[in-house]
Structure formats: structure tokens, C-alpha cells
């Protein structure tokens, strides 16, 4: 078994505006099963950060427990990283973000970590609109513990042994829209053309951005009856392609057909959307809920940018916290002294 990726890269590999190559954004060699969708998502994150010219040390990767939560070891080895407790990544992310608002927070979670043990934490981090990108690597099963059904497994979809799932699935994208998320996208690990611009848009979004990425488990949930297999997702996928155009860049389209809609992000970058239904307004919660519900009923999977609320107030705005990260303040600013403590205590009496 190979533990080290060869050091050589393509001699024509491009360099980004920081003078870095894609190699600077890579991590260790994956120990996940061969063919796992999660590895494709890691590769998409690498591409997105490389193309966005992000300094790796300006990123904090956070995760819970599970196959998905191992993946921060496989990308951005030059970034901050916290592999936290099962289902508790949102709390750690909230704490880190409040202490240092200058970093880019990328949370990696799975359907177990988010929709089962972590559902409570998930709902609250969404409604607090913490400024972070939260990627769920959703394969409908607990791959790390031999493939039991997870809470996102579709009703009627059998596991590898053939047992049918009797319970109703949690649609994390719809849940997030319901509880106040300001950016919700759905994608597929096998469609990087859509996934990479979505990750870029999510990172550029100010506020909480959820990406529910269907990521087939080749070992336990890629059989012909599964609704989370490569083949099924490819057949059921109704994709709304996305282009991400960073600020100050000429707009060039990847897709042939004209864009149906353009969304300008707070930093001046533009998200262009294609092939959407005419009556679908992605800035309207109700419209997004109706569209996703409609396609789900038809047995289809609607992927793309599902909902966005621009100009929302993220958690720092709501709390009115200091503009600078705590690590840039001196002791005097961080500890204003006993007189201030006394006055606070007095205010609480």
C-alpha cells in the first residue's frame, strides 16, 4: 500500500495569484475506501481554495466523527484543524469563530454526525447564522461502523444486505432552509463542475452556508437498489449548473446556454445560475422549499444553489462583538479590570 503521494507534479501545473500551486493545498494520502465520494469532495475543496487564492493558514477546518470527519486530514495540510467530538463540531466552530473572526471556517460533517447525533447542534448553528461553510458528506449510511442506515437514507432504499429502510429521511437542505440558513446548496461528489463553484460561493458567502453533498459509499451503499449510489444519483440528478465569478474578473461562462439568474455576493463576486425553472426564486424560502419538495416527490434530486439570502446579519453582527480577533488584542483590551467587572456584576443584581 502506498502511504505517500509522489512528489512530482505536472510541469505545466498552474500557479495562483499567491504563487502557490495546487500541491500547496493538498493533504495526506486518503485512507478511506477506494472510490469514496468523500475523496472527490476533498479534491473539490482543494481546487476551490487554490482558485480562490486563499492562504492555507487563513483556513480552519473543523469536523466531528465519522468517515467524513476524517477527511480534513486529506486536504489543506497547512491549515488549522480541529477534529472534535461526535456531532459537536458546530459548538467548537462557534467558539473558534467568536475568538477569531478573520479565519475562513470550513466544517466537514457527515449524515450521521449532522442528522443523527448532531442534529440539535446543527439546527442551532444554522439559526445563529455563524459565518462558516458547513459541508455534509451525505452517503445515507454509517460507513465507519459497517453501513447501517443513517437518518438521511430514503424510505424504501435497501441497505447492502437487502433490508428496506422503513423510516422517513431527514432532508438537511430543507431543514436548514426552515430554520433560517442564509445559503443552502446541494450537490454530488461526482459532479465537480457544479461542486467546485458551489464551494467557492459558500466560502464567499457571509453567514452560514450549508452544502449537502451526496457522496456515495462504495463499500456499503453503492448497490443497484440504493438511492445514494453513483448510478442512481446520476440518473435522478436534476442539476442547476453554477458558475462562480470572483470579484474583479471578467465574466466568462463555462456553460453554453445563457444564465437564468445572477446573484451578486457581498464581496462583489457573482454566482451565475443556469437551467432553473422560471418560477423558482432562489432568494425566496417558500419557493426553494416548494422546488425541492416537488423534485423529491418525483424521485429526482435537485442540485445546485437552492437558497440564498444576501445581506443577512451573521452572529458577530448580532452580538456586536469586537471587530478584531482576540489574539490581536493586548491584555489591557482583553481584561479591562475589576472596575468594569464590578459594574457588570452590579448590572446583573
Amino acid at each position: 500500500m502506498t502511504f505517500v503521494k509522489p512528489a512530482f507534479r505536472h510541469p505545466d501545473a498552474p500557479v495562483n495569484e499567491l504563487g502557490r500551486t495546487r500541491q500547496d493545498y493538498e493533504g495526506g494520502l486518503s485512507t478511506l475506501c477506494a472510490g469514496c465520494g468523500h475523496d472527490s469532495i476533498s479534491a473539490a475543496i482543494i481546487d476551490a481554495c487554490f482558485e480562490l487564492n486563499i492562504e492555507p493558514h487563513k483556513v480552519a477546518k473543523l469536523s466531528g466523527i465519522g468517515c467524513s470527519s476524517k477527511t480534513p486530514a486529506y486536504f489543506l495540510s497547512g491549515s488549522h484543524s480541529f477534529n472534535s467530538v461526535h456531532g459537536r463540531m458546530p459548538s467548537v466552530a462557534t467558539g473558534a469563530n467568536l475568538a477569531n473572526r478573520d479565519l475562513i471556517y470550513v466544517g466537514i460533517s457527515g449524515d450521521g454526525d449532522t442528522a443523527s447525533i448532531g442534529l440539535g447542534q446543527f439546527a442551532h448553528v444554522v439559526r445563529r447564522n455563524l459565518n462558516m461553510t458547513y459541508i455534509v458528506e451525505n452517503n445515507g449510511c454509517y460507513g465507519l461502523t459497517k453501513g447501517q442506515d443513517s437518518a438521511t437514507m430514503d424510505t424504501g432504499s435497501p441497505n447492502k444486505k437487502g433490508d428496506i429502510n422503513l423510516y422517513s429521511p431527514i432532508d438537511l437542505a430543507r431543514l436548514a432552509i426552515e430554520v433560517g440558513a442564509t445559503f443552502v446548496g446541494r450537490s454530488f461528489s461526482g459532479d465537480k463542475q457544479q461542486l467546485i463553484p458551489l464551494i467557492k460561493a459558500a466560502i464567499s458567502h457571509r453567514g452560514f452556508a450549508l452544502l449537502d453533498v451526496i457522496s456515495p459509499c462504495v463499500t456499503f451503499n453503492n448497490h443497484s437498489e440504493s438511492t445514494k449510489s453513483y448510478e442512481h444519483v446520476r440518473n435522478a440528478n436534476t442539476d442547476m449548473p453554477v458558475d462562480f465569478v470572483p470579484m474583479r474578473q471578467e465574466i466568462t461562462a463555462t456553460y453554453d446556454s445563457g444564465a437564468t439568474c445572477e446573484v451578486c455576493m457581498h464581496d462583489g463576486s457573482v454566482v451565475r445560475l443556469y437551467k432553473q425553472d422560471n418560477d423558482y426564486d432562489i432568494e425566496d424560502r417558500q419557493s426553494a422549499l416548494e422546488a425541492t419538495s416537488h423534485y423529491t416527490k418525483e424521485g429526482k434530486i435537485l442540485t445546485g444553489l437552492l437558497y440564498i439570502q444576501r445581506d443577512s446579519e451573521e452572529l458577530h453582527d448580532v452580538l456586536g462583538t469586537a471587530r478584531r480577533p482576540l489574539n490581536s488584542m493586548d491584555e489591557k483590551q482583553l481584561c479591562p479590570g475589576s472596575r468594569f467587572l464590578d459594574s457588570i456584576n452590579a448590572g446583573l443584581r
Binding site: P6, F8, R9, H10, D12, G35, C36, G37, Y230
Partner: protein, 602 residues
């Protein structure tokens, strides 16, 4: 694009750049792995089977494999293939019991080989074990041809040369040395069933400028001078020597001159440095022996006083290319005089066939060269064959060996009453290297070591005695490290379309971004739309059939694939596999020859 036909042996052969570039198609990665495994004798025999002179070539080959080496495209320098070959030769055990022997009873057919250089010796090696009676003619007292007379002893020790020449002569070859053939007709009249002519390009070019005749005794023709030194007819030269010419012969002349009395030796070349024909390493070695190389100087005259050479006058030129890329040497007006006691002219060599009667039925064409078939090496007289430098002009040892193998096939077919153009396809084998879930039988890890330099003896020691070999060869530890630099390009990435689930795992893991999944298109468009556009047109694209799920195709640019096996390691379905490809050029006497004619169509 149409899906790649990997059943065509040439497709994967071309991926093994070194082997493909080698005129004899020696399976380079195969023997490098054997060297890494410490199996020097086996590595030697893989070589010997293909190129006949591993010890000689491991020191003197022109190495067309090294500029082709894929390693040179992913980092600075190619694998030191040639010097690894020498390691196999230096460290082998006794191999005599492994060599083929002539059968006790011959087949009754007699073949004459004229010239005892690498081409003829290769023909002898291939035909003697088949029972042919081989008569080998040469005007020199020993075999080896130009390998002995032109390659200086400090690059090729006589024991190495003798050993490999004797491997062949000991197969029961009838030696007719010190026999100059002055008439081909007389040879044919002796009733040979076939004659092979491997007489090289024995005539050194001369330089007809003023003063040439007047100081004849101080002016030498390079290859003749080297031969005189080699056979010890000559053992000294003046202190100040000019060598004219920019090829490998010039490099051998100047370095030899430094060893037999030349104190101030200069190489003067008409053209610019970049166009010099000498191999880069030979130029380096000459410079290291304090020999300046002076470019853009066109010889004008030999300057003498009453026949005593004083030096040479040169016209300094600028090299100018016109719009069509034609080169012109434009005099700058400046003239330069270099003092010299002796001059060696090494500006090229030609074929010369004064001994072949022109009424024998052998057609001669342009430049008075025989008309020789490029595949069969047969002349227009059907029982006369040519090979080596004698066939198409000066090349090198490894080309002569390749010619010899092919000529031997032709002679064998011809004397078996078969068509000489009815040649067998190469032997090919393709075997999975998978040993476990994630285990390969080859060392798939890619070493990042830089190329290891070959140690040399000190300059003082080397210049004192022309018989001291300059290069010392790798010791086995360094050889192992150098061998590990080989990318194992013969372990092919083999793709099975029907197994692919398009999970992208191979795309994500590939260190050099070779693998793509995209909609099919014509080749120029595909080359452009890859993740890393495929700019090298001589490197093929490996294209699959339409994939089951999306009807896209897999397109792999072979150019900088590291053959690390990670695509196959990360493939969940085994759609990618690493398979060792073995390609061997079919030699004379293949058992399929007469028994099953259907096998001969490729």
C-alpha cells in the same frame, strides 16, 4: 477520438519511452528492476539477449534512451540508463553456461560475414546457434571492428571488449582475421549461400584547403589516427594539437591526444556549440581534461614553413538563419591563427566500397551507397545483405546491433526458402502486477533523488596513462539508488471501460493530473480540453470507449504519467490495473517460422 487499441503492441511499447527510442528495443525498465533486486546476471542476460554488448554499450552507447526517458520530463535529468547497464555487466557472474551454443550438427548452409564489427557479430550471434556455418572476415588481427579501433581504451577497456566479442567467436565462428577482402566476387564465388556486409564507414573525410599536402606528415585523419594509436603503431603526438570537428570522434581524438603527448589541445568547430554532434557528456569529459572547444571557426589554411606545420588560420563566422531556417555561416571579417605542431581532422566519415564489383547485380544509388531495403537489409542481389554503418551511413553501435538482428532474420528466412518480408510480430506479454488489495509486485514508490553522477578517476591519473579507464562505474549501493529513479514505465496503466463507475478517485489522486473524464471530441480538441492540455504531440492519448453511466470517455495523457499505480490503488472496481508489459523484438529462428504460417500475419 476512437478508443485506443491496446491490442496493438506498439501502443504500450511507445509508452516505454526508453525502450521505444532504443534501436534494438532493449527492455530497459525490466533490467533496471533486476539491477535494483541485485540480480545482475539476469539483468545482463536481458541486455545481452537484446543488444549483444551490454558491457561495451554500458560504457560507450550513444544512449538514445536517455533523452527519451520520461523522468527527464518530470524533473531535471533522465535516469542514468547507460551506466546502470554497465553495473549489470560489471557485477554479473560467469554467464557462459547461459549463452546459446551452436548445434553439434550444422544445417549445411554457409554464410560469410565481411567486417568483424558489431553488425556482423550480431548476425553471427543470431545465426550460429541455428546451425549456420559462419565465416567471419576482417582485415584487423582481432574482432570488434570500430569498437576496437575507434573507441579509445580509456573509455572501453580491452578485457570488456574481448569478453563480449569472444562470447560470439566461441560459438564456433570461423575466423578469417588479417584478411582484407578486395573483391566481393571472389567471396561469392566461394559458394556462400549468403553474404553479409558489415564493413562500417571506414573512410575519414579530409579537408582540402591550402597547405594540406605540404604538411601531410603533421596532419592526420581522425579515425585512422585513432586506429594507429589503438593498435600501437603510434604512441606520441606534438605538444600543440588542433582537432577539427565537433562529433564524438573529435572528442575521442582530443582526449587521446592529451594522453600521448598533447599538452595544449584545442577542438575547433565550424558551427555553433548547439549544433555539435558530439554527445553532451563526451563534450563535458573533454572540457574536464582542459581541452577548450572553439566554435564558429571555419578552417582557412594550414600555415607552414617549408613543409613544417606552424599552425592553422581560421575565418571567424556568425551563424545566421534565413526565413526558411536555412543556416549560413557569415564571415565576420576576423581571422584567427592558432599555433600547432599537429592537426587531426575529425570532420566526418564516409562509406567506401571499392572492393565491391559493380557488375554483380548490387545496385548503387545516391552518394555511391548500395540500395538496401530498410526492413530486410537485403540488397538488390538477393543473397547479399548489408547492416551497420555500411547500410545507410555512420550511426552507432546500438543501431548496428539492431541492423544485425534484422539482417539475421532475413538471411534465415531467405535460406529457409521463405519471403524475407514475411516477418514475425514482436513477442508481447501483459500481466497484472497486483499482489494484494493495495500491493504491487513492483516498487511503485517514486524516488525523488537527483541523478547520481558516475565517479571518475583523478585527472592526473587519467592523463598519465591512456589505458586507465576514466569512468569508474557506480558501486552497487549507488546503482540501487539510481535504479530506484526509474519510473517503471513498462508497468502500464490498463483501463477497462466496462468496470468504471466514474467515481473520479483516479482523477483526484493522480499526482500529475494525467486522467480526465470528458465528452469525446476529435484529438486536437481533446488535447486542448484536458485538465493539463496535452502539448506533446509525440505522446499519445489513451482514450476509452463510451463509459456506462455518462457516455463520456476516459482520456489519459501518457506524457508525464509516473506509473505510481495510485489510480489503480484508488480504483474501487479494478477498472484501472497496473500490468507489466514485456516487448521483445523477434529474432532469427523463431520456432513459429515454418510450422504455422498463420501466426506470421500481425
Amino acid at each position: 477520438m476512437k478508443a485506443t487499441d491496446t491490442n496493438d503492441p506498439e501502443y504500450f511499447h511507445k509508452v516505454v519511452d526508453c525502450q521505444y527510442a532504443c534501436p534494438a528495443h532493449t527492455p530497459v525498465p525490466e533490467y533496471i528492476r533486476l539491477i535494483a533486486a541485485g540480480r545482475y546476471t539476469d539483468a545482463y542476460m536481458v541486455n545481452w539477449e537484446s543488444n549483444v554488448f551490454p558491457g561495451i554499450l554500458g560504457r560507450t552507447c550513444d544512449r538514445p534512451c536517455e533523452p527519451a526517458c520520461r523522468r527527464g520530463r518530470v524533473e531535471e535529468e533522465a535516469v542514468a540508463i547507460c551506466r546502470l547497464k554497465r553495473v549489470a555487466a560489471d557485477n554479473k557472474d560467469d554467464v557462459t553456461h547461459l549463452l546459446p551454443k551452436a548445434p553439434a550438427k550444422g544445417n549445411g548452409k554457409r554464410v560469410a560475414l565481411i567486417g568483424a564489427g558489431p553488425a556482423s557479430l550480431t548476425v553471427a550471434r543470431d545465426l550460429a546457434p541455428l546451425g549456420y556455418q559462419i565465416d567471419l572476415y576482417d582485415d584487423q588481427p582481432v574482432g570488434g571492428g570500430f569498437m576496437r579501433s575507434q573507441i579509445p581504451i580509456f573509455r572501453l577497456p580491452p578485457e570488456v571488449l574481448n569478453e563480449e566479442v569472444d562470447f560470439i567467436l566461441n560459438m564456433g565462428i570461423n575466423e578469417h582475421f588479417q584478411t582484407y577482402i578486395s573483391s566481393l566476387k571472389s567471396v561469392i564465388q566461394q559458394g556462400y549461400h549468403a553474404v553479409f556486409i558489415g564493413t562500417g564507414a571506414p573512410r575519414g573525410s579530409d579537408l582540402d584547403i591550402p597547405g594540406r599536402q605540404a604538411c601531410n606528415k603533421s596532419i592526420h585523419v581522425g579515425i585512422d589516427w585513432l586506429a594507429s594509436v589503438a593498435f600501437e603503431h603510434l604512441s606520441s603526438i606534438g605538444k600543440r594539437v588542433l582537432v577539427l570537428g565537433g562529433g564524438n570522434t573529435a572528442m575521442d581524438c582530443c582526449r587521446t591526444a592529451r594522453r600521448v603527448g598533447g599538452e595544449s589541445v584545442k577542438v575547433v568547430v565550424r558551427s555553433e556549440f548547439a549544433r555539435m554532434k558530439a554527445s553532451a557528456w563526451e563534450i563535458e569529459d573533454a572540457k574536464a581534461e582542459d581541452i577548450p572547444i572553439i566554435n564558429n571557426h571555419v578552417p582557412k589554411e594550414f600555415v607552414h614553413e617549408d613543409g613544417v606545420l606552424k599552425g592553422m588560420r581560421f575565418t571567424v563566422v556568425d551563424v545566421v538563419y534565413d526565413a526558411d531556417g536555412r543556416r549560413e555561416l557569415v564571415p565576420t571579417g576576423e581571422e584567427v591563427f592558432f599555433e600547432a605542431d599537429e592537426v587531426i581532422i575529425a570532420i566526418g566519415q564516409d562509406n567506401s566500397f571499392p572492393w565491391i564489383e559493380r557488375d554483380l547485380g548490387i545496385e548503387f544509388g545516391k552518394w555511391d551507397m548500395p540500395v538496401v531495403d530498410k526492413t530486410t537489409f537485403q540488397s538488390s542481389l538477393d543473397n547479399v545483405f548489408f547492416g551497420g554503418d555500411a547500410a545507410f551511413g555512420p550511426e552507432n553501435i546500438i543501431t548496428a546491433v539492431a541492423h544485425g538482428h534484422q539482417a539475421a532474420i532475413s538471411i534465415d528466412l531467405f535460406l529457409s526458402g521463405e519471403r524475407v518480408d514475411n516477418r514475425l510480430a514482436p513477442g508481447v506479454n501483459l500481466v497484472s502486477q497486483k499482489m494484494g488489495v493495495h500491493e504491487w509486485s513492483y516498487d511503485s514508490e517514486v524516488s525523488t533523488d537527483d541523478r547520481y553522477p558516475v565517479p571518475h578517476v583523478s585527472k592526473e591519473k587519467a592523463l598519465k596513462d591512456r589505458k586507465v579507464e576514466v569512468e569508474l562505474g557506480f558501486d552497487i549501493n549507488v546503482a540501487y539508488q539510481e535504479a530506484e529513479r526509474c519510473l517503471n514505465c513498462d508497468v502500464q496503466t490498463v483501463f477497462t471501460t466496462s468496470k468504471c463507475i466514474e467515481c473520479d478517485a483516479c482523477v483526484d489522486i493522480c499526482p500529475t493530473d494525467c486522467i480526465n473524464f470528458l465528452d469525446n471530441d476529435d484529438e486536437p480538441a481533446l488535447r486542448q480540453s484536458l485538465r493539463r492540455p496535452a502539448k506533446r504531440a509525440d505522446q499519445d492519448l489513451y482514450v476509452s470507449n463510451a463509459l456506462p453511466q455518462t457516455q463520456r470517455v476516459m482520456v489519459k495523457d501518457e506524457d508525464v504519467c509516473l506509473h505510481c499505480g495510485l489510480c489503480a490503488e484508488r480504483c474501487p472496481t479494478g477498472a484501472w490495473d497496473m500490468q507489466r508489459f514485456f516487448y521483445s523484438v523477434t529474432k532469427a529462428g523463431s520456432p513459429c517460422k515454418q510450422s504455422s504460417p498463420s501466426m506470421t500475419s500481425s
